[in-house]
Amino acid sequence: MATTDVPGSRRSGISAAAPPRRAGRVGTNGGKNFNRVAGVLLAVCAVIWLIPSLWAIKTSFTANAVSALGTQAILRDLNPTLASYSSLLGGGDLWNWYLASFITSTLSAALVVTFASMAAFAISRMRFRGRNVVFVLLLAGIMVPADVLIIPIFQLLNSVGLLNTYWAVIFPQVSSVIALFVFKQFFDGLPKELEEAARLDGASNWRIYRSVIMPLSRPVLSAMAIVTFVGVWNNLILPLFVLSNPDLMTIPVGLATVQGSFGQRFSDIQASTILGALPLVVLFVIFQRRIVEGVAGTGLKG
């Protein structure tokens, strides 16, 4: 761990120089020194946190023959090569994984957002008998740890012949109670007058949902879509047991097979790690705020 002192000191130099200027904002009493120490400490930790990723990146650009020799060889190697990347991208496996992950995540996100928002609309904006019972029943689902249900879910999918289809990955993830709950909270906050005018004009519930509520819900729609997308993309346990056909494997399942099949080809392994994670990193860079808000707001935890 202490090896990080070397790169750490460089970073911390930058950060420590910054605080004093606006340190008064936080507290003047001993604040300057405190902030300086805090800055150094934080920078060291941040660098420690970056090391595993940087290490994987560095290895992925090293030749397999070099990375097989170990850490020292990888550190000393100054001939970056794209060999691992080109061989992975040249093969079919990785593209199959991408396709499977993309299809399952996109469809799941679309279905979750549609069905959860519809149900939340009814519970939040419509009066009907049994409404509270339905809501409490659905809400109870928040506490159900879906991972623990993997065996009955497997049996159900098996009995209806859905194993080894994308649907086997999609369907069990459609009933996102958390999404329903977030939608309901959001809809509860919208003023009643909005739909009352439309209702007087004779608009149907479906019309109000489509044309009044949905357009107003874009922020929460996109947040839920992204959070679901990421969740399905990263899910391992479900696709691991319901997909055994290598052509259908999602990225996490595909990556799980890499360790065994690539043996000592460390560079190839790390390149597949990077390529497997890359789409999400790109997504994160684009939707940083939405993802952070969505993840923090829903209390989802992997």
Binding site: F34, M126, P145, D147, I151, G254, L280
Partner: protein
């Protein structure tokens, strides 16, 4: 909430001109809106949970159809006597104990420090949060590589510090779980970090300014302002963290598959092994149900605590 229930009490619709037929139509329409979600909910959450409970009383097996014979509490009785079950529960608890304290304390410290920094917010978020969005399979490949015996990064670091024969982390029963825990802390701290940052943003600056004027040192400010004011976030983080740790599967499956021996086999691995490898669905269902009970208990505690805090606020 209360306003809604009051409004729902009279059966008369909001527009009096519409008759009971319209109200009935609205009833039906509401159910139509709920139907698609409810279908998936019943099929893939409620149904399986119920099935799991029922199957735990049968000698169900994956190799024959149906539930098999009713055997009452036999599955539970054999679980309670099985050392494999208890050791998997113990490994789950071990993992929880190794990961929860650092994930709560470190994320708090990082968030408090990062929040005080006038600059580099993007950098801190990038450093601490990015691992969280990576697939568990990717982080496992990275850490297995770091832990590679003899030539891996961690072994090399230990050699630099004079340990010429570093123990292979994932190959040693006594420390394999620590290795998995370290990777997990690295992976998931960003989530708690973000929750704490959000909590910190809600604390009014004036409180700190007032404290500073009164002569409070930064340490005193953290001790007497930040920690108490963030107690709600801490409870949330703590309970979410415990629930997540109890469900641990991915990292263990990918990094050690429960090994060496069964030294890192956790509850969920025990369940999938019993069900998918030994084909003992009934026994797996009973184990699932026990784990389910533990998790639901904590989830209920979380709901109660949250409600109590909302009332207090």
């Amino acid at each position: 909430m209360s306003a809604h229930t009051v409004g729902a009490q009279p059966a008369v619709p909001t527009t009096p001109s519409r008759d009971a037929g319209a109200a009935g139509g609205r009833q039906r329409s509401a159910w139509l809106f709920i139907a698609p979600f409810a279908f998936f909910y019943l099929c893939f959450l409620f149904g399986p949970a119920l099935y799991m409970f029922v199957a735990s009383f049968f000698d169900a097996s994956i190799v024959k159809s149906g539930l098999g014979n009713f055997i009452g509490l036999e599955n539970y009785a054999s679980l309670v006597q099985s050392s494999a079950f208890w050791s998997s529960m113990w490994h789950t608890l071990q993992f929880t104990l190794y990961t929860v304290p650092p994930l709560v304390v470190l994320s708090f410290v990082f968030a408090v420090l990062a929040n005080r920094m006038p600059r580099g917010q993007t950098f801190w978020r990038l450093a601490f949060f990015t691992p969280y969005i990576l697939p568990s399979a990717a982080i496992s490949l990275i850490w297995v590589f770091i832990y590679t015996a003899d030539t891996g990064l961690w072994a090399t670091v230990q050699k630099w510090f004079g340990d010429d024969t570093p123990t292979p982390v994932l190959g040693t029963p006594s420390i394999a779980m620590v290795g998995i825990a370290v990777a997990t802390v690295w992976w998931t701290i960003g989530f708690n970090f973000i929750l704490y940052l959000a909590g910190l943003q809600d604390i009014p600056r004036e409180l700190y300014e007032a404290a500073a004027i009164d002569g409070a040192t930064p340490w005193q400010q953290i001790r007497h302002l930040t920690i108490p004011l963030l107690s709600r976030t801490t409870t949330l983080v703590l309970l979410l963290q415990i629930i997540a740790s109890l469900k641990i599967f991915d990292q263990v499956y990918l990094m050690t598959n429960g090994g060496p021996g069964t030294s890192t086999r956790t509850a969920l691995l025990f369940i999938t092994d019993t069900g998918f490898t030994d084909y003992r669905i009934g026994a797996a269902a009973a184990a699932s149900f026990l784990l389910f009970l533990v998790i639901v208990t904590i989830a209920v505690i979380r709901q109660l605590v949250e409600r109590a805090q909302q009332k207090g606020a």
